[in-house]
């Protein structure tokens, strides 16, 4: 019997754990842990442990499908590709590339994303985006603006060197479990852990100071903390002088945010705000860890800017144990952004408006006219489609119906399209609406690189072949490109990586040896661009910031209440998030029995007080209702949430029927974290 052990990168979150797949007779039969992995050190979260259940799921798409009436017919690849090309080509011809949309996936490899945006832009469409829009667009804009680089500044295991860790809007214990190890190691060495979250999550268990914040009031909390720091003279003046600009304005703006006022807005005791502020400012090395609890707000970009302000006035950046850690959701969000599947960036974060950008890529791709402006973001594509402007879409590995806010609007949008081609591994709700469905390959069925949240570019190997007639995404994209007259040749991941290296400076120094060993943290290649004190140090911003003048930009932000306030008919605040055993829209985890067993269906967490006030008992089915719609969920009466706040896990369809599609003006990220709702017995 043939047996093999293949090293792969976990398909779930952005931590980028590695493990081995045991392959027998061409089937993936089990996993083996990888104690040598630099980040996960052999550990895996429940999802990683169950990864094969999704991979081997019988429900995988196995044939190309074509819509016929309400159902689908299996068709040949020849036909499917022809249809796809015809559909997209037609729209391009009749309505122009401006009205065709391309949705890439932060689940796909760097190579696939690179090729995908190359396809879109070569065809003249600026409308290419990925779901980073829904998780960390505010980071991309906010951090980019403040410190010039929208990425985790230090390696994850460096958290263990920190002496104070400020966690806000992140529940890494459940969603990035391996991160918890380093936080605990720091704690055991005496670090103070501060956790700000509306819920008492397992992450909050680790906290020395727990700030149970009212959803959507992050800016108030942060300004309150900064007020204390400035008032008590805890700011790092030399750092402000040498490395930043704009402090004066900030100091001015903070005057109104006394700890007392912050306490009133955030419902966090004044004393705790002061303690937290002192702990963060006084420690020799403090780190900030945040996630979607900060970004998914109308004020998402402000929240991120406020965090940047906090770390800048204390100078907690550019040293071991300091920095800021935006924990990315998908295993390749960082990579997808690096690869330019964001409408405002070409690969390597080069702006389309910059003439040199279009020149460079035009020359490299042999295209004379590349789009030289931003197009539509993922959500704007949906709007535009609903309004009948956008006519065709090519969606690769995403399920907007379940991941975008307000599912109903998304459905209408996709319905309004003339033509929709979806490329996925499962018949997702979105795929159900497609004209053509292309069966793609899952992570272990192809090779390529993923870039983890700590900027670690890692190679993942092919363990098995795709089921049935499913094909590799690189092949599919190239075939479509060919049929749309771009005349591309088929190419391997290796070849695409070579092209990436030639065009993306941060990836230039990658070598196969690095990838084989412990991956490649993408600062190494760019001494000079990001000056680094110690050669090859993986820590960003040790000496300067990649901003025009090398200085970080402090800019005041003010508290704006959430878009939707509570009202008599919707008296409760609804916030959403993830649970440890499921993943995003659940297209994979919902197909893993051992995970479903832990969290089988949609539930709503509410405080005993709110429950008893409504005569709701634990476990009964209730109706959660917002201005947009309602969903049935099992009541979970729990002390995790504060009175007046309810929580819904967004993995289960139904959740996003309720959420609110109001967006951050800059990052265009929707406010998924706050809505007003009512809960009643079902």
């Amino acid at each position: 019997m043939t047996q093999a052990k293949v090293a792969v990168i976990c398909p779930y979150c952005g931590v980028g754990c590695g493990f081995y797949i045991k392959v027998e007779e061409g089937r993936a039969t089990g996993i083996e842990y990888m104690p040598d992995h630099p980040t996960s050190r052999g550990s895996l979260c429940p999802k990683g442990n169950a990864a094969l259940e999704a991979l081997n799921h019988p429900g995988r798409l196995q044939h190309p499908l074509m819509r016929s009436g309400d159902g689908f017919l299996p068709i040949s690849w020849e036909k499917a590709l022809a249809l796809a090309a015809e559909g997209l080509g037609g729209a391009l011809r009749d309505y122009g590339p401006e009205n065709v949309g391309f949705l890439a996936s932060s689940k796909c490899t760097n190579e696939e994303n690179y090729l995908f945006q190359k396809l879109a832009r070569s065809l003249g469409s600026p409308n290419v985006d990925n779901c980073a829009r829904l998780c960390h667009a505010s980071t991309v804009v906010g951090l980019g603006r403040a410190i010039g680089a929208c990425a985790t500044t230090n390696p994850l295991d460096d958290l263990a060197n920190s002496r104070c860790i400020f966690v806000i809007g992140s529940n890494f214990s459940e969603n990035h479990s391996p991160v918890a190890r380093y936080v605990i190691e720091a704690k055991e060495e005496g670090a103070i852990i501060i956790v700000a979250d509306p819920r008492r999550t397992p992450t909050a268990w680790l906290a020395d100071i727990f700030l149970q914040i009212r959803p959507g009031t992050d800016v108030a909390l942060l300004n309150g903390m900064m007020h204390v720091i400035v008032e008590e003279g805890l700011v790092n003046h030399s750092f402000l002088k040498e490395r930043t600009q704009g402090f004066a304005a900030l100091a001015e703006s903070l005057k109104e945010y006394t700890a007392k006022r912050a306490a009133e807005i955030t419902c966090v005791p004044e004393g705790d705000i002061i303690r937290a502020a002192r702990a963060y400012a006084r420690s020799p090395a403090s780190a900030i860890v945040y996630s979607m609890g900060v970004t998914q707000h109308v004020s998402g970009t402000d929240n991120v800017q406020a965090l940047a302000n906090l770390l800048l006035i204390c100078g907690h950046i550019g040293r071991p144990g300091t920095g800021i850690f935006p924990l990315r959701g998908q295993n390749n969000v960082q990579g997808a952004c690096d690869m330019g599947t964001l409408t405002e960036f070409y690969p390597g974060y080069r702006r389309p408006e910059d003439r040199r950008t279009t020149e460079v890529f035009g020359r490299a791709w042999g295209v004379d006219r590349l789009p030289n402006h931003c197009g539509l973001t993922s959500l704007e594509m949906m709007d535009s489609a609903r309004e009948g402007r956008l006519r065709a879409m090519y969606i690769m590995g995403e399920d907007p119906i379940n991941s975008d806010p307000h599912s109903e609007k998304t459905r209408l949008a996709l319905d309004a399209l003339d033509f929709l081609v979806v490329q996925d591994i499962f018949p997702t709700d979105t795929a159900q609406m497609a004209d053509v469905v292309l069966p793609a390959s899952a992570w272990a069925e192809k090779e390529g690189t993923f870039t983890s949240t700590e900027r670690r570019v890692q190679w993942t190997n092919r363990a098995v072949f795709p089921p049935g007639q499913a094909r590799e995404d690189l092949w599919i994209i190239s075939e479509i490109a060919g049929r749309l007259g771009l005349g591309w040749k088929q190419c391997t991941a290796e070849q695409v990586l070579a092209e990436i290296k030639s065009l993306v400076p941060t990836y230039r120094a990658i070598t196969r040896e690095m990838l084989a060993r412990e991956g490649f943290i993408w600062i190494h290649s760019i001494e000079g661009y990001y000056p680094s004190r110690r050669k090859g140090s993986p820590i960003l911003h040790e000496e300067g910031f990649p901003t025009p003048d090398g200085l970080a930009i402090i800019s005041p932000v003010h508290f704006r209440p959430p878009a939707e306030e509570t009202s008599p008919e919707h008296p409760l605040i609804l916030t959403t998030g993830r649970v440890g055993s499921h993943y995003n829209a659940g297209s994979m985890t919902m197909r893993s029995p051992s995970l479903l067993e832990i969290e089988p269906k949609l539930y709503v967490e509410l405080h005993p007080a709110d429950a008893s006030a409504r005569g709701i008992v634990d476990g009964e089915t209730v109706v959660v209702q917002t201005a947009r719609g309602e969903a049935r969920a099992a009541a979970r009466v729990s002390l995790r949430v504060a009175p007046g706040v309810v929580f819904l896990p967004f993995h289960f369809s139904g959740c996003n029927d309720l959420t609110l599609d109001v967006r951050d003006p800059l990052a265009k990220i929707p406010e998924l974290k706050v809505a007003a709702c009512q809960v009643r017995r079902g």
């Binding site: 550990s43 094969l52 479990s177 918890a180 190890r181 055991e188 397992p202 440890g580 029995p593 002390l639």
Partner: protein
């Protein structure tokens, strides 16, 4: 030998549970209790020195094989007395008894635990806890 739990490190991520399922045909021999939203405790067979479960087993289906309390399916009559006897409720049954078998030497739960809250040896566990206490003291001195 047994699997030892460092309660201070458990974050209720359920990785041990799922890892155990993968090793034992979809059935987990670990149960995870979250207590008052403040702490969690993975429960699994303590491999007691003088196991009540073994004492009550009428058919010698549960026997002590060096460090492990082993379960011999062919001898089990499904009387479920062991369930009643186990003081920790970590021996359970769906007509057939399930209990931690230490994955014949390298427990998957220990290997996978993201925070190393689960440990394979008594020494590791107790030494870590003790040095954690010592560190706290030492910080107090400074």
């Amino acid at each position: 030998m047994s699997v030892y739990v460092d309660m201070e490190r458990c974050i209720a991520c359920h990785a041990c549970l799922v890892a155990c399922k993968q090793r034992h045909a979809g059935v987990s021999n670990i149960s995870l209790q979250i207590v008052e939203e403040r702490a969690a405790a993975p429960q699994l067979c303590r491999q007691c020195e003088r196991p009540a479960c073994m004492a009550v087993c009428p058919s010698q289906a549960l026997v002590q094989e060096d460090a492990v309390i082993a379960f011999h399916i062919e001898k089990c009559t499904g009387c479920e007395l062991c369930l009643l006897a186990c003081p920790f409720g970590v021996v359970w049954s769906d007509k057939l008894v399930h209990k931690c078998d230490l994955c014949s030497g390298d427990p998957a739960c220990v290997a996978t635990c993201p925070t190393q809250a689960l440990l394979g040896t008594f020494q590791e566990a107790v030494v870590r806890i003790r040095s954690r206490a010592a560190k706290t003291l030492q910080r107090g001195l400074r």
